[in-house]
Symmetry: C2
Subunit: 274 residues, 2 copies
């Protein structure tokens, strides 16, 4: 099912600023067991992002009503719900028209069918050659300017490699192409700072909150390739796949087992999602 500004359509105007400039934001939400997981956090991030980009999004009630009809249409079929908000079609060139209404696009997609082993035994990852663009003003946002991720993800086609890790221009670890990343070193849980690049992931934020509740020592920090190579545990996470332990970093010829902190967080995350 697809709703464009509340109507069942599958196309948008070619003058939409989302197409022309990537001038918008998106959310990818897990709909499982009849529930849109962490929906409040997703909506909050969307609203925060619109504020940061100065997109005058005031259709929150409409969006909420539309999501309800989407949930009903899905019945109990596990699905991915994608929301795209753009600045709409107004303006002259880059200059926006702040009286123009943003575009709302909600679409549903089949839940991806990754092997169960990805969560249980872990995944193989590689290091991406393409480096993330850096800009503090855009860092954290799940905006529609995603060429970095596209270029990085298309560096490999080997289906045995589940994810690629991405680095900034200074070769600091930031995230995966579609995930956030954590490492564990000497019982310290560490995730890269999202200051000049990277996305503020919903599951990343949940895991940081859970780690605090569990008394797991957590910090945001700069992570070099050497620190990644020396990590005791590594995992990647996102809203759709939960936590994937990393069992193998190809370029380092490094193999890891699923460590205790990774398992603990997986357990708690699965409990919350129930």
């Amino acid at each position: 099912m697809i709703l464009v500004n509340g109507k069942p359509e599958d196309r948008i105007s070619i003058s939409d600023r989302g197409l022309n400039y990537g001038d918008g934001l998106f959310e990818t939400i897990a709909f499982r067991n009849g529930v849109a997981e962490f929906i409040d956090a997703h909506i909050q991030r969307l609203v925060d992002g619109c504020i940061r980009l100065n997109i005058p999004f005031q259709q929150l009630e409409l969006l909420s009503t539309e999501l309800d009809s989407i949930y009903q249409s899905l019945k109990d079929v596990d699905s991915v719900i994608k929301i795209v908000i753009t600045r709409g079609s107004g303006g002259r060139g880059y200059l926006a028209d702040n009286t123009a209404e943003p575009s709302r696009i909600i679409s549903t997609h089949a839940y991806p069918s990754y092997p169960k082993s990805y969560q249980q035994q872990g995944v193989s990852v590689r290091l991406c050659q393409h480096k993330l663009s850096e800009n503090p003003t855009l860092a954290g946002l799940k905006h529609l300017n995603r060429l970095d991720n596209v270029i990085a993800r298309n560096e490999w086609s080997d289906e045995n490699i589940a994810e690629g890790l991405m680095f900034d221009q200074s070769n600091h670890l930031i995230e995966g192409t579609m995930t956030n990343v954590f490492i564990v070193k000497s019982n310290q849980l560490i995730s890269p700072k999202i200051q000049t690049s990277g996305v503020n992931g919903i599951i990343r934020a949940q895991l940081i909150r859970m780690a605090n509740q569990l008394g797991i020592n957590f910090k945001e920090d700069i992570i070099s390739q050497t620190e990644l190579n020396n990590a005791d545990e590594v995992f990647v996470c996102n809203s759709i796949n939960g936590i994937w332990p990393v069992k193998n970093i190809m370029d380092f010829e490094k193999t890891l087992s699923v460590g205790p902190i990774t398992q603990q967080l997986q357990h708690v995350l699965l409990e919350v999602e129930k």
Copy 2:
């Protein structure tokens, strides 16, 4: 007139990667006196960009035929022709489907009506606070990830300010929000290096070629804010507006007259466009 993949339409699929990721490129072409100016250079940049982004664009003959029909529809009305090429709708998430056909979108727009004084007496510009993202892999490309330009252009609404100058993360001058920039210092023509950010403009390239033919001393270089402030001449340029001399840099309270090298290049550019 709008053609989407050769058909008269004004919408595209919401699954198009141009919308979802800004996964594509565009060209903005001046159609004046019945001629699409520098069309070969625009098409060449589009093809080069597709190669750099690994977009399998092989519809050059179709595009050419479609442009011909666009020219005919315009008759002799001066217009702006915009071409957008995206990676199309294929793939799974960021992973592209290289068998999917790219999308071709051609649209025509009214020629913008800026005052004649902009070319003759020059324009007022300001310095944008928003800094350009840096990434050597993307630098030069006229890609669809244009949030930097959108954010910068929306810093001001004063219609007396025609353009904003943009700087990289190190505060080096790179370009205007919709233009390239040149300065003149002691008869030396200088344009910023397009190595980590900025667009390789068509008019910029033409002017560099013309400067060489005219025996004007030209170099690409790093330009600091101090060097900008000390310049004898400053001008911005693009395919639609030609050369706009800068008469006033607001933030520096700096005023300039239209200098001899700027005038010389304006003259030669107008001759070529005839």
